[in-house]
Amino acid sequence: MVAPARAPLRTDRLRAVNEPQPVAVELSADGSPAAVGRIGGSEDGKIESINETWRIDDEWWRQTISRLYFEAMLEGGKRVVLFQDLITGNWFMQKP
C-alpha cells in the first residue's frame, strides 16, 4: 500500500504555543523582581523598571492557577513578562 501523503492530525499531537519558561529571579527589598536569569543560561539582566503588574486567578474548579504577572524593562531596553506561580512560588518568563 502506498503510504498516505499526509498523516491524520491527532489532538495528542497538539503543542501549546507560548509555554512559560522557568527563570531565576532576584527579588528587591519590596518583593518585586530586581534581576532575571534563565535557568541554566546566562544572566538576562537587571530590571530597570516594572511597567505593569496584574494577577490571574483561574480554573479554581479544576486545579487552581494563581499567577502574579510583571511586565518589566531590562537594562538595555528589552521588555519581558515574568510571573510568579503563587501556588509553588516558582518564577517563569512568558512572551507578552
Partner: protein, 427 residues
C-alpha cells in the same frame, strides 16, 4: 450555438461527506476513529465530522477547543480540496463512461442522464448496477443511488436510500413517492423549515395538499417553487456538459530558436495563455499536444550541402503529446511531461513557431470551478504542490517535519499558553 445535452430521466449518485470519505480511503484505519476535517478557510472550525465523532457530540462548525473538550480521541485532519476535486473529477469521468450526460452538483453529488440507456443496459435496475460499477471500490459501500423522473425525484430517492443501496422510483409513481417524504428533502433554509414545521407541515404531501396560491402568498416565489417540487410538477432534466473545443495557443519567434531553455520558457507562456482561455473555465486539461514548425527553406541545415537540385522538401515539424494521468488546471503539472519530452526528444532543428493545444478535458465540480474559474484555480493547486515540495525538502534536510499550523484553541483565555496550539502540518 451547440445545445447542452439533457435527459429527463435521472440517476442521482450521492456520496455523503465526500471529503471525509476521501481521507478515510487514503488513511487506512481512520474510519475506526472519531474524525473531523478542519474547514478549508482560516476559521479553524470543523467542516465535516464522522459519525463516531457525532456520537461523541462533535458537530460541524464547532471550534477545535469545543470539539476536543467533547472528544479527547478526536482525530483532526487538514483539508486537501485539490485531492477531493481530483477524486471527484475521476468519478465524473467514470460516470461519463455510462452516460454522456453527467451533471455535477457539488462535491460527492452528481446526476447521470439515463434517457436511452435502457436500450444498452435494460431496466432501471441494470442501469443503476452499471453506475454502481463505475464507482470506485472504496466509495461503493457509502454511495447512495436514486433513480426517477427529474433531478429532484432522483435526489430524494438517493437521500432516502441506505448506504450502498439504491431506490428506484418508477415512472408515474413520483407523486406518491414524494408525498410521504419529509420536508427536509426540500432545498429550504432553516427559517422556512421551522415555519413549515410550526404550521404542522411535515411531509411533501402535506405541503402539496395546500393551495399553491396560499403557499406562494406565505413564502413568495421560493414557496411556489417548493410547492411545485413537493407536488411533483417540476422535473428538471439533467444537463450534461459539452466538452470544449481544443484550445490553441501559438507563438511565432522573430528568429528561429534552438535553445531548449528558451523553448521551455515559451512553453510556460503558452500554457499560461491557454489556461486563461474562457472555454477552459470549469474544465481540467486531460490531453495536451505541443508542435513546432521547424526552420526550413531550400537548404538542409544539417549537412550544409546545397539542395537546390533536389525536389522541394516539406515543411519540417515536430510533435509531442502527453496524456495527463490526473487532469489538472495547474500550469506546472501540464508543463512537466512536455518538458521531459522536450529534453528527451528535442526538435531536430530551430523552431520558427511553437503551438500548444489542449485537446481533451475532464469536467470539474462546482467547487472545482471556484478554483478553476480563473488564475486562482491554478494558483491554489500550485501553492499546494509548492508546499509539498518545500515540506519534502525540509524533511530531507532535517530528517523530520518541522512544519506546523497555528490553530486557535482558546483565544479568549487569560492564560497565554492556552490560546493557540501547533499541529503538525503535512501538506
Amino acid at each position: 450555438m451547440t445545445r447542452r445535452p439533457t435527459s429527463s430521466l435521472a440517476a442521482c449518485v450521492w456520496i455523503p461527506l465526500f471529503p471525509l470519505r476521501c481521507e478515510e480511503a487514503r488513511h487506512e484505519g481512520l474510519a475506526t476513529y472519531p474524525t473531523a476535517l478542519l474547514a478549508p478557510d482560516t476559521t479553524r472550525k470543523l467542516w465535516q465530522v464522522s459519525s463516531l465523532a457525532r456520537h461523541a457530540g462533535v458537530k460541524p462548525g464547532m471550534t477545535v477547543s469545543q470539539a476536543i473538550g467533547l472528544c479527547h480521541t478526536l482525530r483532526l485532519i487538514e483539508p486537501d480540496p485539490v485531492h477531493y476535486d481530483e477524486h471527484f473529477a475521476s468519478l465524473l469521468s467514470a460516470l461519463n463512461e455510462v452516460s454522456p450526460v453527467v451533471e455535477s452538483a457539488e462535491l460527492g453529488l452528481a446526476y447521470v442522464g439515463t434517457d436511452g440507456l435502457e436500450g444498452i443496459f435494460g431496466k432501471p435496475q441494470k442501469i443503476i448496477d452499471a453506475i454502481r460499477q463505475t464507482v470506485g471500490p472504496s466509495d461503493r459501500p457509502t454511495v447512495r443511488l436514486g433513480f426517477g423522473l427529474g433531478k429532484f425525484t432522483a435526489w430524494v430517492a438517493a437521500s432516502r436510500a441506505k448506504p450502498g443501496e439504491a431506490i428506484i422510483v418508477p415512472l408515474g409513481a413520483e407523486k406518491a413517492f414524494l408525498a410521504s417524504q419529509p420536508i427536509s428533502v426540500l432545498p429550504l433554509d432553516s427559517a422556512t423549515h421551522r415555519r413549515l414545521r410550526q404550521l404542522a407541515i411535515r411531509t411533501l404531501g402535506a405541503l402539496a395538499a395546500l393551495p399553491e396560491e396560499a403557499v406562494t402568498a406565505q413564502f413568495g416565489a421560493m414557496g411556489r417553487r417548493l410547492w411545485r417540487l413537493a407536488a411533483g410538477y417540476i422535473a428538471e432534466p439533467v444537463e450534461g456538459r459539452i466538452a470544449p473545443e481544443p484550445i490553441v495557443a501559438a507563438l511565432t519567434f522573430f528568429t528561429p530558436v534552438g535553445e531548449r531553455e528558451l523553448l521551455a520558457h515559451a512553453l510556460d507562456q503558452l500554457i499560461a495563455r491557454a489556461l486563461k482561455h474562457p472555454r477552459r473555465i470549469g474544465w481540467r486539461v486531460h490531453a495536451v499536444r505541443l508542435r513546432a514548425d521547424l526552420e526550413s527553406g531550400g537548404e538542409d541545415q544539417r549537412d550544409g550541402r546545397s539542395t537546390t537540385c533536389r525536389a522541394p522538401t516539406n515543411q519540417r515539424s515536430w510533435l509531442i503529446t502527453a496524456l495527463l494521468k490526473d487532469p489538472t488546471a495547474a500550469g506546472a503539472r501540464i508543463a512537466a511531461p512536455l518538458k521531459t519530452r522536450l529534453e528527451q526528444s528535442p526538435p531536430t532543428g530551430a523552431v520558427e513557431r511553437l503551438v500548444l493545444e489542449f485537446t481533451a478535458f475532464a469536467p470539474g465540480t462546482s467547487e472545482l470551478q471556484l478554483f478553476a474559474r480563473d488564475a486562482q484555480a491554478a494558483a491554489r493547486a500550485c501553492q499546494q504542490r509548492a508546499l509539498q515540495s518545500a515540506a519534502r525538502e525540509i524533511r530531507m534536510r532535517v530528517k523530520r517535519a518541522n512544519l506546523y499550523h497555528v490553530i486557535e484553541v482558546q483565544p479568549w483565555s487569560r492564560l497565554p499558553e492556552r490560546r493557540y496550539a501547533l499541529i503538525d502540518y503535512e501538506p
